[in-house]
Symmetry: C2
Subunit: 236 residues, 2 copies
């Protein structure tokens, strides 16, 4: 029973699913659905995911969307996934669920809206909205502070003091990676003071190599391209 993953390497939750599969030897067919060009709204894709978002999976009779639900499912449905990704122990699992649930209206909401307001809106010809950008950055910075003071408070390298990464580490680090498309000075302002977050991101990249960097290749290319455009605009 083959696994199909519908996504795009510029989507942070899709990248988390790709990396998880590769880390755990889960064979899958990667089907690119480009949300920039409206492919997520095609009638064919809405048959897979009526919410018109990526990622989504098809596995036998199951059609599933929402990246955290997908990661939980894959961790349970495929034999041989190491327990640290989504522990069977009820207390350990519950704490990871707590991080995953917190993510949506905190780190994700801040980071996603900031990138949309600062990078995507101008690309789509929409007027800049400094108020939305400022609110989003505030939430993002508060979220990064909570990651350092609450979720990374314990002594282990990963969230909740764990010695190995869980699906929560993967999801949150892929989210923060999306900030790479911002201007260098914005990245420095937001992430520069966050030494604990920086170390945790390095640890997560190291624990998931070489797949982490491979799956982020398109993001790095896009970052370089945007940088070139900004330098050109500044020189003009």
């Amino acid at each position: 029973m083959g696994l199909k993953v519908y996504g795009h390497r510029m989507s942070q939750p899709a990248r988390a699913v790709y990396i998880f599969c590769k880390m755990n030897g889960i064979d899958f067919e990667e089907i690119s659905v480009n949300f920039f060009t409206g492919e997520t709204s095609s009638p064919e894709y809405q048959e897979i995911n009526p919410m018109k978002q990526v990622p989504a999976i098809v596995h036998g009779s199951l059609k599933l969307w929402e990246s955290h639900a997908i990661l939980r499912y894959l961790a349970c449905a495929f034999p041989g996934v190491p327990d640290h990704w989504y522990p069977i122990d009820l207390h350990k699992r519950a704490k990871i669920e707590s991080v995953l649930d917190w993510h949506h209206l905190n780190l994700r909401h801040g980071a996603l809206r900031l990138v949309q307001a600062v990078v995507l809106a101008p690309k789509l010809g929409r007027p800049p909205n400094p108020q939305v950008a400022a609110e989003a950055e505030k939430l993002l910075c508060e979220s990064l502070e909570k990651i350092e003071t609450v979720w990374l408070k314990e002594s282990g390298p990963f969230l909740l003091g764990n010695s190995e990464p869980s699906i929560a580490d993967l999801s949150l680090v892929c989210e923060i990676m999306q900030l790479e498309v911002l201007d260098e000075k914005d990245i420095d302002r937001i992430l520069g003071p966050r030494k604990i977050v920086q170390q945790w991101m390095e640890d997560t990249k190291n624990a998931t190599k070489p797949h982490f960097e491979e799956i982020h290749g398109l993001l790095y290319e896009t970052k370089a391209e945007l940088r070139k455009q900004r330098l050109g605009a500044n020189n003009a």
Copy 2:
């Protein structure tokens, strides 16, 4: 090993946890933490939940917050909880996870922000923000439409076509109940056209009686009080 639930009956996710416990015969000590008066920011409460929100639970050595994480944990940790609340079957569980994850940035984000902008902001002496209210109502209405056309598309009375409620039904219905504090004409405009949602809410209330109505008692009292205040303001 006693279970302590820190919450408040005006908090929609706390109500979902209370109702779940009562429905499943889970004994707990209800500890009221009033977020209106800042009790969630006390040093004592931050020892329980550093995110300064309700609900949270303490169960043995476990301190846990985020209502969906709590509901999942309770469904697994207490023997005798019927399977329909959080099924062991991987496909069924995955679909319920998908609803729970979708909830945060859709129904919850819309409903919460609307109530905050329209009811709470004036109470706290903040200026009204019609733009935030309009954006929140738009997201709320889109979310209600998605509940009808996606999550309630199948023929069963509950989400995903299920014949009995899951923790997702409980969480989402408690969220929509919070709209009771809005003005009658606002409720009619938003929920009036949503006959399928209305029927599902009735079915969920019936499946969880008498606990649903008992736990919502304070919300109904608050609704009546707000209505009296509005009538007074209109007559003055």
